[in-house]
């Protein structure tokens, strides 16, 4: 499952793409966790621009990364989520837990 990670100064961005389900979530999780644990960034963005499908596995993915990043004292932000992805996230109340941004504008 393709995850592209870019790091500039203290901003760490994981660009997710394709479909996020139980099957694909495992490798996404492993890739992000490995990099986060190694770099302990202050700000972590998960970018959903190229995600075409997500089920509740995406909620588990965000919640798990949220705890890990908090342990390192960092902050997690979600970016560029489609209305469908947002709908799934809202079911879990993740919109109240994590900062959601679209493009550069916080909503």
């Amino acid at each position: 499952m393709p995850v592209k990670i870019t790091v500039t100064q203290n901003t760490f961005t994981a660009y997710l793409s394709g479909e996020i389900d139980h099957h694909s979530a495992k490798s996404i999780r492993e890739e992000i966790d490995e990099a986060v644990t190694r770099m302990t960034p202050e700000e972590v963005y998960l970018d959903f621009k190229d995600v075409v499908f997500m089920d509740s596995s995406g909620i588990g993915l965000v919640m798990g990364r949220y705890s890990l990043i908090q342990e390192h004292g960092g902050q997690l932000r979600l970016r560029n989520m489609s209305s469908h992805i947002r709908k799934v996230m809202r079911l879990a109340g993740l919109d109240r837990l994590v900062l959601i941004e679209n493009g550069g504008v916080r909503i």
Binding site: H22, H23, D55, S56
Partner: protein, 148 residues
């Protein structure tokens, strides 16, 4: 009410088939000309039910999962996802949001909550040791009809 169209699928409980199953159901439903949102909702609900069958029903062992889907003249789509896995002891509990038997913390326990939220109705029939059937019903606002 008479079925206007129907299909049946049998596939192995491999993770890679989660994508196959929801895409196949979406392709079947496409004859009703659903909106993008309706199609996303159906794909997501099917994905949850199939994932439950793989992760909980069969506990990652490789067995058959059966899907049947039917379209009714009032644009209702009824999708049944069936496994012959371990079954659910307490369906009420299993359907509670955030309840999960997963101990790794990576499953949110929201599968049924997603199904309920994205479908008009969700029914679960299960017998311990025999398996589980989840029936999802969703009405499509439909701009098209399969008779056109």
């Amino acid at each position: 009410m008479k079925r206007q169209n129907e299909m049946k699928l049998t596939f192995k409980s491999r993770g890679i088939n989660e994508s196959f199953a929801r895409t196949a159901v979406a392709a079947f439903v496409a004859s009703l000309d659903p909106t993008v949102d309706e199609l996303s909702d159906i794909k997501t609900a099917v994905s949850e039910a199939v994932t439950n069958a793989i992760v909980h029903g069969y506990r990652e062992s490789i067995e058959n999962i059966y899907i049947s889907a039917a379209i009714y003249p009032d644009n209702r789509v009824v999708i049944k996802i069936k496994d012959n896995g371990c079954g659910i002891g307490d369906i009420g509990k299993a359907m509670e949001p955030m309840f999960t038997t997963c101990t790794t913390g990576e499953r949110a326990g929201l599968g049924f909550a997603v199904m309920k939220s994205f479908c008009d109705s969700v029914k679960v029939a299960s017998r311990v040791g025999k398996g589980t059937t989840v029936t999802l019903t969703r009405k499509i606002s439909s701009r098209g009809s399969i008779n056109e």
